[in-house]
């Protein structure tokens, strides 16, 4: 009896935004008399960091420091419509809404500053909370002064609104599945490698290392991206080897009803996780961003399964990969079984799991 090491990989892709699209987000912004910026968005922050990312987009776009931004997503009376935080859509779709609103605010700041400085707005730029003449940085005024002038001299409110809908709901042809327009806002890409150690006596699988490469267009905040992909890796680890609501699926018996009977990965025993972020900007996302939230737990399960095959030569195609399943596969292999049916050019795995093995009620697809 021994421990066996193996390596496996998987590559994945994932859409940004609701499938078939048709999921709007809206935002509006107002500027206080001292130039500080209030953002109103309907995007719930579920821990994904959308308050932070949207505040960054607004600060960058207007040209003011990040800590000038107050972000309010607290209620539906003051914040405009956002479809919600799901479908990996917050950064791309809601981010585009605040981006458009911030561009309007910037234009209005430039218009007021142009009147104050008596210069064409096209010759002005905004950065670090100040409006200055391009090429003549000495001639400038603070955004706080611009906001004060707007309020008390010109009697205007510096505001902006934005909405994003990308690009309208796709219609699906029921026969072919063909769509009339893109059903996603963007697609993100990733690859993941796992190194595992399999105990051939107990069936226990230890994931020692996960290496993952994500191209998400633009890492708006690399720390938050790492939070997403490391948290996602842990969730993918749980899907791969630990978690199931129905341990004897399809039976509904023996369900875990708490944290002591439904096991999620914990900080102890986590694998080493290595991350690589690639940035190939998308054409439609704010500053080239794409979605990252959901795909982060999609690559690990298969990479782990493939690493187990590499380690001990058995395929597990039912998840999670429990010690029982590994042991059963190892036992079958020792007894000379567990092989696919090979007949001419056909190699058929897992036939005992198929629907046609369970019923003859319907003539099934493949």
């Amino acid at each position: 009896m021994a421990l066996h090491r193996g390596n496996g990989l998987a590559t994945i892709e994932y859409p940004t935004g609701m499938n078939q699209n048709g999921d709007p987000s809206q935002a509006w912004i107002k500027v206080k008399p001292d130039g500080r910026v209030d953002v109103f968005s309907g995007t719930s922050d579920i821990g994904n960091g959308s308050k932070t990312v949207q505040s960054q987009i607004v600060a960058e776009t207007i040209g003011v420091p990040y800590d000038w931004i107050t972000y309010d997503n607290s209620n539906t009376d003051s914040s405009p419509m956002c479809t919600g935080t799901f479908a990996s859509r917050a950064t791309f779709v809601a981010g585009n809404a605040v981006l458009k609103a911030a561009r309007q605010v910037r234009e209005r700041i430039l218009a007021i500053a142009a009147r104050e400085l008596e210069i064409d707005p096209a010759d002005l730029e905004v950065a670090d909370g100040a409006v200055s003449v391009k090429g003549t940085p000495a001639k400038s005024m603070g955004v706080d002064e611009v906001a004060g002038a707007a309020t008390f001299v010109h009697g205007e409110l510096l505001t902006g609104d934005g909405a994003h809908l990308n690009p309208g709901a796709a219609i699906v042809d029921p026969e072919s599945g063909e769509v009339d327009k893109p059903p996603h806002a963007a697609i993100s890409y990733a690859a993941c490698a796992a190194t595992v150690e399999v105990d051939d006596e107990t069936g226990d699988v230890r994931v020692l290392e996960l290496t993952q490469v994500y191209d998400i267009g633009r890492a708006m905040n690399p720390t938050l991206v790492e939070g997403q992909i490391e948290g996602g890796a842990v969730m993918g680890l749980g899907f791969g080897v630990l978690e199931t609501c129905y341990p004897y699926y399809p039976s509904v018996e023996h369900r875990g009803d708490g944290m002591n009977t439904y096991h999620v990965p914990t900080m102890s025993g986590l694998p080493e996780i290595n991350n690589v972020l690639m940035e190939n900007p998308s054409s439609g996302g704010p500053y080239g961003a794409k979605g990252i939230g959901e795909m982060a737990n999609n690559g690990q399960p298969a990479a782990i399964a493939n690493a187990i095959y590499d380690a001990v030569g058995v395929w597990i195609s039912e998840f999670p990969i429990t010690p029982e399943r590994v042991l059963a596969a190892l036992d079958a292999k020792r007894e000379g079984g567990g092989e696919p049916r090979r007949e001419g050019r056909v190699v058929a795995f897992d036939e005992e799991l198929s629907i046609s093995a369970a019923t003859s009620a319907k003539s099934w697809g493949p």
Binding site: S55, R255, N280, W364
Partner: protein
């Protein structure tokens, strides 16, 4: 750029890690009542009799809700996308899963509310239950879903299958040197948010309702609440935006509509906080997927065609499952370009908790199946796993199963980067690959017809 791309601290991070963020459960109001639900003990049963009299008569009980109190009992969450509703907010004639809510009680304390739930008399006629999706089509299978039967049958009007047909799959299989099939079954997974489902609903003196919500989607949930309550959006103020973990499980709006009704009926603020057991046993989780893949492959490692059958175990009601299956169908080639496709997908109902969104919805299990299958095919061919994947990787202007040209696929680049990061050797030929539109050896005859244009 100065702010975008910077490692700035999380906007609300200090509050989260010091326990000072106000979550829904932190909301406490004078006169606030507490709610508890009576849930079905059966997987499938007809309700023959309900008597709430004893519960209503209990001291400290202020409201008992049943289906008769709900202005619109069935609201389809995706009715705007043409998918009819099927799930009653409170069970009426049948319960279709263990844990399905039948009544909600609002009382002075949680203990009183629970005791009142226990005092509600319900008579059931138990029915056989269906749990195995593979048996859902049998003539003698128990009927699960009152609206659709045992599988969804309203795709684009009246189809009972989500299908993809692309290219000439039969010709691809005729031409194949190798045909590899596999069956993949992925499991139900709980989202496990630290914050369980929770809501505080407050009837305001001006007649409006304030709803402190843990939803991931305030406006979506506003629509759900207003639909069930048959109220205009102006009458309800959702307060939220800060969520103690969602992972997809807080789009359903599980607690808001009933808590709102209890607040209206009692005239008092009402809090309904689910226990961890309810969160685990009665809230929607990731659904199981049964996937059968057959690939037609050439001896030099091209995937010529794919046939696939997917059966998604939706649980008792539809919720977002049809959406999830359609998304699944659109991505069933994964990161590869496979020109000839025959996909059939079914949303099948079983007597388990309705499944719902979870991180990677429709695709987590699919990606798992596709990538184990890819590894099997590569091993059968005797090909290096990187080489097989890089060869079949999608490229600019290749088309997806639904004929959309890929605009900026990075499959080649992420694989090359992964090989570098893990010290895996790639040949010069594989190192030189790129995402660029196909030409030369990378544009064999079988991939010509699938090339698109004007990519996205």
């Amino acid at each position: 750029m100065k702010v975008v791309g910077a490692r700035l601290p999380r906007y609300d991070g200090v509050g989260h890690v010091t326990g000072r963020t106000t979550y829904v459960d932190d909301v406490r109001l004078p006169g606030m009542l507490h709610a508890a639900a009576l849930r079905s003990p059966h997987h499938n049963a007809r309700i023959t009799h309900v008597d709430t009299g004893a519960a209503e008569a209990m001291a400290g009980v202020h409201a008992v809700l049943t289906h008769a109190d709900v202005p619109l009992l069935v609201h389809g969450h995706l009715s705007g996308a043409g998918i009819p509703g099927d799930e009653p907010l409170l069970a009426k004639d049948y319960v279709r899963y263990r844990g399905q809510p039948i009544a909600l009680v609002a009382a002075d304390t949680v203990d009183i509310a629970r005791a009142a739930c226990a005092a509600i008399e319900v008579d059931y006629e138990e029915l056989p239950a269906l749990f195995d999706v593979r048996l859902a089509f049998d003539d003698d299978a128990p009927v699960v879903n009152d609206t659709f039967g045992n599988w969804y049958n309203k795709y684009e009007g009246d189809l009972d299958v989500r299908q993809i047909r692309k290219g000439d799959t039969e010709a691809a299989f005729d031409a194949a040197d190798l045909i590899v099939s596999g069956v993949y079954r992925t499991q139900s997974q709980e989202q496990v948010p630290l914050e369980t489902q929770v809501c505080v609903a407050v009837p305001e003196p001006d007649g409006r309702l304030t709803i402190h919500t843990c939803t991931q989607a305030m406006y979506f949930s506003l629509g759900v609440v207003c639909s069930h309550l048959q109220m205009p959006m102006s009458e309800v103020k959702m307060v939220g935006g800060t969520v103690g973990g969602g992972f997809g499980g807080k789009v359903d709006t599980a607690s808001d509509p009933l808590t709102a009704l209890a607040a209206l009926k009692s005239g008092r603020p009402v809090k309904w906080r689910w226990t961890r057991e309810e969160e685990m046993l009665a809230s929607g989780n990731r659904g199981p997927w049964h996937m059968e893949i057959i690939d037609a492959v050439s001896s030099d490692g091209w995937i010529l065609g794919r046939k696939m059958l997917t059966v998604h175990d939706a649980g008792a009601y539809g919720r977002f499952s049809v959406y999830g299956l359609t998304k699944h169908s659109f991505h069933h080639t994964g990161a590869y370009s496979i020109p000839n496709l025959h996909f059939d997908g079914y949303v099948v109902f079983t007597n388990r908790i309705p499944t719902t969104a979870m991180r990677g919805y429709g695709i987590t299990g699919l990606a798992t199946a596709i990538e184990v299958h890819a590894e099997r095919v590569a091993r059968e061919l005797g090909m290096d796993p990187y080489e097989f994947r890089l060869k079949n990787a999608n490229r600019v202007n290749d088309t997806s199963p639904n004929r959309i040209a890929y605009e900026d696929p990075s499959t080649v680049e992420v694989l090359q980067s992964l090989a570098s990061a893990t010290g895996s050797e790639l040949s010069d030929e594989l190192r030189a690959m790129s995402r660029d539109e196909r030409s030369g050896d990378m544009l064999p005859d079988h991939l010509v017809a699938q090339i698109g244009s004007g990519g996205h």
